[in-house]
């Protein structure tokens, strides 16, 4: 018998703001968080735009010494986790510390630190490397530092699942509670990969937009003129609790985690198969896990990367799963505004799904001027829309052919 799992806290930092409130207000106002890259000199790079955080001050969350010894992706996770815990009015007490876990996915880990340290090894030799190099790089150290900070001694993990990592983080945490391994989980995804290596690598794959002259127009999911995704950075963390645990402490409940699906394409390391059968199976798996019919879903926060292949195939997969209902539900890609935050995408987009339930507002797909071939669903173009949402699905897919889908529904006793 599976236990019920509810969402009781939200925390995020994104290119649209340094809190859930700012970020949600940003997507509801159709604001783009994309601009020129300021983190490094982009001369010679085909892509010179990204969704960077704005005016983020790490010293609100950690001291100077800590800031120097950990990579940005760990700092982002500590910041978002701090806000999520405060939002849930939760502090881990000894009585349930061993029943409290952390599951924070990352696609890339400490790439900027890797880059910096390789340069140091080459320039100064092998004996001048900081002793904090290795623990700054490892992808699981976001979860590790969060667990240390809050005293969470239960299950811990870091799904390294490319662009689905955040969804896998929340999905795995959901399962940990549903199946009795934990009562509370701090879960989500993070990445801070706007670095020369990452931009050059994605450019080599022709995966990211080169619309440098109009950064705010560059991420245009489902549009005919889309030319690749725009890399973003950030972190999205949710607090999940077993229902009776949340009730006993009088927690506010945002919504319920209804189901989770995870599948593999077993097809190609980077490209989705035509029709995106793996994604379709994943949406079906999540519906099955939730015990829900397709007609109960009112909103899909799409993977919607703005790459030519993903968007067309994701639409096909949605039609495969939802049939005629595909034309009645709302589908939007918030990546049109945040950019693609890689491992953080699933964390932040889960928060958007939960906020859509709570506020009855569906965030838009901006820059959708002329829908591309086969892109004929209701993508909520340009403007957010008021619409009651009973249940929302969050899709994320990633390199390696990984697919992960979460469903959140309104909480009812």
């Amino acid at each position: 018998m599976k236990r019920r799992v509810v969402v009781t806290g939200l925390g995020a930092i994104t290119p649209l703001g340094n809190s859930v409130q700012e970020t949600w207000a940003g997507v509801c106002a159709s604001r783009s968080g994309i601009g020129p890259i300021t983190k490094f000199n982009t001369a010679g790079f085909a892509t010179r735009i990204a969704g960077e955080l704005k005016n983020f001050d790490p010293l609100i969350f950690i001291n100077k010494k800590e800031a120097r010894r950990i990579d940005d992706f760990i700092i982002y996770a500590l910041a978002a986790a701090h806000m999520a815990m405060a939002d849930a009015a939760l502090s881990v007490e000894e009585a349930f510390a061993e029943r409290t876990g952390v599951m924070i996915g990352s696609a890339i880990g400490g790439l900027s630190t890797i880059h910096k340290c390789i340069e140091e090894v080459i320039q100064k030799g092998p004996n001048r490397i900081s002793p904090f190099t290795v623990p700054a790089i490892l992808a699981n150290l976001a979860a590790g530092h969060v667990s240390i900070r809050f005293g969470a001694k239960g299950p811990i993990g870091c799904p390294v699942m490319a662009c689905a990592a955040g969804t896998n983080g929340i999905g795995d945490a959901f399962r940990a509670i549903a199946h009795g391994y934990a009562d509370v989980m701090i879960a989500g995804g993070v990445d801070a990969a706007i670095s020369p290596l990452c931009i050059a690598g994605f450019n080599a794959m022709r995966a990211i937009s080169v619309r440098n002259e109009h950064p705010e127009k560059a991420s245009r999911p489902f549009d005919r003129q889309r030319d690749g995704f725009v890399i973003g950075e950030g972190c999205g963390i949710v607090i999940l609790e077993e229902l009776s645990f949340a009730r006993r402490r009088g927690a506010r409940v945002y919504g319920e985690v209804a189901g989770f699906g995870s599948t593999s394409d077993a097809f190609h390391m980077a490209a989705p198969p035509p029709g995106h059968a793996g994604a379709a199976r994943c949406m079906k798996a999540a519906l099955g896990d939730a015990g829900m019919t397709p007609a109960e879903i009112d909103y899909i926060n799409a993977h919607g990367t703005s790459t030519p292949l993903n968007d067309e195939y994701e639409v096909q997969a949605i039609k495969t799963v939802f049939g005629e209902h595909a034309y009645r539900l709302a589908v939007s890609s918030t990546k049109s505004m945040t950019g693609h935050m890689l491992g953080a995408a699933g964390g932040v987009e889960a928060i958007f799904a939960v906020k859509a339930l709570e506020d009855g507002i569906i965030p838009p797909t901006i820059n959708l001027d002329n829908p591309g071939d086969g892109c004929d669903l209701d993508f909520v173009p340009h403007q957010a829309r008021k619409r009651a949402v009973r249940a929302a699905m969050s899709n994320t897919f990633g390199f390696g052919g990984v697919n992960a889908v979460l469903i959140f529904k309104k909480f009812r006793d």
């Binding site: 001291n63 100077k64 010494k65 010894r69 001048r128 900081s130 002793p131 904090f132």
Partner: protein, 78 residues
């Protein structure tokens, strides 16, 4: 700047501690909150600043700020 002032400036920056905490008898680990990795980094910073190399077996002798100053003086640093 005297050697003492230079050393304390490096310690304040590396360990994120205040001038007041840096009395000469302060122990890096017990009083200034350093762990073994902080110490390695602190020593590297001193090596860089004073252009010397400190062997691992000499590290064990450097427990307090005064130890560090004495050690640097023994290497001829003024």
């Amino acid at each position: 700047m005297t050697l003492e002032e230079k050393v304390i400036t490096i310690i304040m920056e590396q360990l994120d501690v205040t001038r007041e905490e840096c009395n000469l008898e302060a122990s890096f680990i017990d009083d200034l909150g350093a762990d073994s990795l902080d110490l390695v980094e602190l020593i590297m910073e001193m090596e860089e600043n004073f252009g010397i190399e400190i062997a691992d077996n000499e590290l064990e002798k450097i427990r307090t700020i005064q130890n560090a100053i004495d050690f640097l003086r023994s290497k001829g640093i003024k």
